[in-house]
Symmetry: C2
Subunit: 415 residues, 2 copies
């Protein structure tokens, strides 16, 4: 096989595994293109002189061992899976840049003081099974394999079955969580418009925001649109629009890091001349501080209750997803800031409104994630794009960071 | 065949043609149960001594001829078709009561001065083909058969094809609109809650309201719900809820005969963590006065434009359905009022928020429609119900009206 020699080539090369006719990439967990991608990454890492291995669930590692057999490990990488018809950069960029960074460091500086290890995480998107970040979740021990193994994809295939068909799986023993990982570094596209809008090359993430997601069901009385006077109606859509309007008005009183979205709304029976019987809609709210997020959610849920009561409607509010804000490591971010300053790379300290594998690693070791710009903020789409210059800038900063962490310091001294 | 001997029996008997397992009735135009229903009605009319005939599109007539061969005709009836899984009363009641009324008058008073004719109109609901009131529309010459014959049902079967398969159709000549019809009388269930709420037995309809229906398309920019700050968003759902809220607020400034409904709303792409790209929703507005209806519609469409502009959203407003208000005949309604008063029947002069065949006949002859209560205002549902006592009261009033029109007056003197 012809392996890539630079970042631009590497992006196109990996995207050919799972390429669709619409220009999108589909590599869902344990699928054929997913397995092919892991295998060719393994092959490429070996040509670069890394020691490769899979863990039992399909996370792929490529190691540059320290001179010191007892040294801890700096782990760097991202996820190899994609959404259905996703872009070439999401996840892939973080793995490919990590391989190129280690390869460069090995050529230039030889064996590191701390072990350096690339990881191609098996799953982050939650596109096949109804759970996300299973690769980093199981690896860090935050998720238990027993809790996950039974979940089904939309074809009714269980997680464990799919995993075994792909050639992975445990003999019966528990997943062995590693205790040698000293730091986790992720490089990723922003998937949002901030860096582009601000004209910055690198985003240094302070916090991955907390999320709360709700499903709101508003019930009223369906009736004929022509024969039912307004005063006799119990129209749940009237209630729902008041609630959503109130939600968008009230967020103006908070700082700009708070975002909220009603992305999904269903009307029953959804016929133009029938007053609806029921509206179901979602509310997604995110903020880097748990206190602010909770206060906003308590406020809007209580307002929704008041509006429903005032209009004589039924309401059910269910919280179906919740993730606490996660702080990235301040020391790692300071090093990144200094690198950017020293290299004359423009950077922006920011929050991540999207979830990432780094969120899971932050539970067990100093962790950070850094971003490069996404054109138009577009992601999870064949239109996802980052310029080669921006990709190279990210790689440049990553190389400097890994050099400082694994070559220039005493074992663990920097963190 | 065993024919019914009273109204309650007649309702159950006719509902057996097209009866579904859910208790609903489905008799769409030119279907097998529709044809069976017309045929058994024809049979029943004949046992009552009426001269029966179909017109070329399948409207069924049962005639009690005047002593005077040149006398005009009082037409009374309603539609035999139903919506999918509709109730037993909608349409059917008006035909069955008309047959029983004529039968009673014939037995009691013999041959009338004016011709009396029951009509079982072939179609009103618009449930099979995308057009409504084709039976009365073609019969009155308001619709042209040439305009209608090509319309397709959801299986791709054309109107004319379905009609011919059912045994109807013209040889090539034009539909011959009758010029002998002196008045049209319809008896119908209310399909709304007014009579029940007011505790009245008969609704005398002054106006069938005008309707305007719109489709509103609001376009914005789809983006990630986590990574897009509120200030950067162009969220079409935010725009749509402001518009709908404004619509429901502004209607409070009008009289209670104005009703408006947003019954249908679609979100694109309708995913909980994605800011929508487009919202499509309908607005249905009705009022008995064209001026009020037009003023309301002009106001809300201009408000919608303003809201879209203020939020940087695109908007397209399409009016896809429009019917002017139709006045029922004042003289006929006066006679009805007097009959109710004289018979100690409680009645309520009202508007019809729903469309009816009477709307079409009002274009060509003095016409009125009267209502009996619908329990809970429910219609187009297996749960549709009117008590036998209420049905009988309607029949009683109808008999009195037809008696006055066809037996006690000089030819046409009353109108």
């Amino acid at each position: 096989m012809q392996f890539p020699t630079n970042l631009a080539e590497a992006i196109d090369w990996l995207s050919s595994f799972g390429a669709g006719s619409d220009g999108g990439v589909t590599r869902t967990l344990y699928s054929k293109p997913w397995k092919e991608a892991q295998e060719v990454l393994k092959g490429w890492m070996e040509t670069q002189g890394f020691e490769t291995q899979y863990d039992s669930i399909g996370n792929l590692f490529g190691r540059l061992s320290s001179v010191d057999s007892g040294a801890p490990t700096i782990l760097v990488g991202s996820h190899v899976d994609t959404v259905h018809s996703g872009g070439k950069y999401d996840g892939a960029y973080g793995i490919l840049a990590a391989i190129l960074a280690l390869s460069h460091l090995k050529k230039k500086y030889g064996q590191p003081i701390l072990n350096l290890e690339v990881v191609s995480l098996c799953e982050e998107e939650g596109s096949r099974f109804p759970l996300a970040c299973s690769g980093s979740g199981i690896m860090t021990g935050v998720y238990s394999f027993d809790e996950i193994k039974g979940v089904m994809d939309s074809d009714g295939i269980g997680f464990e079955t799919a995993m075994k068909e792909s050639g992975f799986g445990l003999g019966g023993e528990k997943y062995k969580v590693r205790n040698d990982i000293h730091a986790f570094i992720e490089l990723h596209i922003e998937q949002g418009p901030s860096l582009e809008k601000l004209g910055k090359s690198i985003g240094i993430v302070q916090t991955i925001v907390g999320q709360k997601r709700f499903q709101i069901t508003v019930t009223g009385e369906s009736n004929h649109a022509g024969t039912t006077l307004m005063k006799w109606r119990k129209d749940p859509l009237h209630g729902a629009v008041s609630m959503i309007d109130d939600l968008y008005e009230s967020i103006k009183e908070y700082d700009e890091n708070l975002v909220t979205t009603v992305g999904q709304l269903f009307v029953e029976p959804n016929v133009s001349n029938v007053i609806p019987s029921q509206i179901v809609f979602t509310v997604d709210a995110r903020h880097p501080l748990e206190m602010v997020l909770s206060s906003f959610c308590e406020r809007f849920t209580s307002r929704f209750q008041e509006i429903a009561k005032a209009k004589g409607l039924g309401i059910k509010i269910e919280k179906w997803h919740e993730v606490s804000p996660v702080q990235m490591d301040a020391k790692l971010n300071e090093i990144l800031l200094a690198i950017c300053k020293g290299s004359d790379v423009s950077c922006h300290v920011m929050n991540s409104g999207a979830g990432h594998d780094a969120q899971l690693f932050a539970n067990v070791c100093p962790t950070t994630i850094m971003f490069v710009p996404s054109q138009g903020g577009i992601s999870h789409s064949p239109l996802e794009y980052t310029s080669t210059a921006d990709l190279e800038t990210g790689l440049h900063v990553l190389i400097h960071l890994l050099h400082q962490l694994a070559y220039t310091q005493q074992k663990g001294g920097v963190l």
